[in-house]
Point group: C2
Chain length 409, copies 2
Amino acid sequence: MNLESTFANRLGNVETSAIRELFKLLAKPGIISFAGGFPDASMFDVEGIKDATTKALEATAGAVLQYGATEGYSPLRDGISRYMAGKGVTVTPDGLIVTTGSQQALDLIGKTMINEGDNVIVEAPTFLATIQCFRLYGANVIGAPIDDGGVIVDKLEALIAKHKPKLVYLIPSFGNPSGALVPLDRRKRILELAVKYQTLIVEDDPYGDLYFDESSTAAAPRSMFSMTSEVTGSIAWLAFAGSFSKVMSPGLRVGWLIAPPELLAKATMCKQFGDTHTSNLSQAVAANYLADGNGARMAANLAKVRKVYAARASTMAACLSTEFGDAIRFTAPQGGMFFWANLTGARGQSTDVAKLAKRAIENNVAFVPGAPFFAHDADMTALRLSFATANEDLIREGVARLGKAYRSL
Amino acid sequence: MNLESTFANRLGNVETSAIRELFKLLAKPGIISFAGGFPDASMFDVEGIKDATTKALEATAGAVLQYGATEGYSPLRDGISRYMAGKGVTVTPDGLIVTTGSQQALDLIGKTMINEGDNVIVEAPTFLATIQCFRLYGANVIGAPIDDGGVIVDKLEALIAKHKPKLVYLIPSFGNPSGALVPLDRRKRILELAVKYQTLIVEDDPYGDLYFDESSTAAAPRSMFSMTSEVTGSIAWLAFAGSFSKVMSPGLRVGWLIAPPELLAKATMCKQFGDTHTSNLSQAVAANYLADGNGARMAANLAKVRKVYAARASTMAACLSTEFGDAIRFTAPQGGMFFWANLTGARGQSTDVAKLAKRAIENNVAFVPGAPFFAHDADMTALRLSFATANEDLIREGVARLGKAYRSL
């Protein structure tokens, strides 16, 4: 006998991500990467975070360095409550818990909700780590098809009726990898489905603040959570995962979970026996940064980030059209960090994205094939391109290399 | 239907801790608490941690605030490798992963190893959150009896032979709640059992640095991990959970897991889909603090903590003897943070610790009954007293109140 033969069966449900293997190739010098899911570190507000850190250790070192409550550091729960109020969501500080990144919010939902063999519906495609996270709890993950407006509600309803899922997981605002923004009428219909079928909806919203259109005050997409007042009973069937990773710093690992009280209580218990609580230092830094100028400091930095990402997205759209023409199909995103595209084969080249990925790395540019983002029935012609970390010059050069790689197939 | 009726079955295996409920009573003003499992915040090296934090954000802000590797922040993995070398353990940086506190190391072991219905052996009594953590993965937790030298090896072997456990979890150095120090001959025999029965041993070592006897260079207890070289094949069956919570700061939530490579790889995968990685800010602070003066800064602070805790333990032992005489039985601990004691009834009073706990709170002193630390067959005469957070005057006053409460039963 060896140790490996004694491992838990749940490990058989997942594999180490193919993307993780790809990332090992990205260390190649001179490569331009559209492959990551990282925000641009050069736009982190380092001075603001330094100030927030100094405050945390000057004023509150005893509390910050000691054990804290599993539910989260009180000033941060207050701060998140105010932050959500600014996004039209009414949630009291005790209606949310702080998590070690929003990934842990998903993990706690998995642990709290999923039995071996339970069906779970996600968008096809969706965030890879969510699929894996839920599979580790034994979920049978079913993909619901999307179009340019995200999940197609009629098809989602048919899947809910057929599979009676334990929960439906969605990233309605600038989804990863789709980049799609689900329109308000669809959001409302999804909330109605939650009530009709008594099914938990998990709204994951890491990108909602990264909208590009600041022309109107209504530019920020409304979360499904903020719409629960319009659909009677829906708040009892909605959980919300929030994150500061894309708008403050991912390295701090601060996210949060809002959920109906009985679910939140059980998630808190699972967290207690999972990591006791999230780093108090990270939590205090996030709380102080949120409070800086009553939110003005974070808002100013975010406005800058939106502007830069919007310009990069626009450049990427133009370059893709120039390089690929009708050989690629995409809808330019209105926010977030990603282009989702398909090779059409219109110019006679292969539509096999895996081949293109290899050739691209030979040409010193990288992206992620779309296939791993599907729970099943992967679209082998799809790819994801992040425009968040490369500046516009690098985007021009990178897409040119990609076009060259494509034409050489 | 309601949401609660759709929760996962695993939640039925655990309850929110009775201790957690007790802790709500401790907000009472003027109470002297021996109930906590916290280190003394007044002995945190706040200045040292401030320096470490400043360094983290001056020199490495980009890396610290960005996403990091699931395995951990490289300089910290290097630092932990050196720290373990100082404790006689040879482990390369890639032989360990950083976890969000050692609680997460246990959670990852549970996720990686435990199937529904698997047997797991722990000390009776043991750390409550471990029992709950493993039960959430479906473990049937079996307690192995202890004496003043920790787990009784003959009885442990009989239980292993009978129950064929997936793993055996031990806190061999100043265990929580037992305070017991497992002697070297027992440690060696346990390693032999691991090999003989091909059973994973999980050594949890949060307290090993808190030894009181500095009279000889051999005062620090040797970890079982450091003894694997003496028992052929045992390193393939040993995992080690480490923590900075008791020797640096629990609020940072930095622990680590050392395990055989195949187990470590799967634990890393589970962590990736659990919380992506541990707070980089916390990790960088821990790395810088560890490196300060090549470890001298941490060593100096630890020496101070040991001295203070030793004096408090000695005072508590003397006061317990004065107040209770033969009505209480305990072995004074040689390190750690806890007294484990039993009411003997020798003076005719009730030995029901739950009753004493209530009466104690009425008398403005608190401790934790021993019962919740047993997976089954709880000893209702046992109690745990922490001497870590109250100074000697408060210990004298608190034990006097406890004696009064006891005599009033």
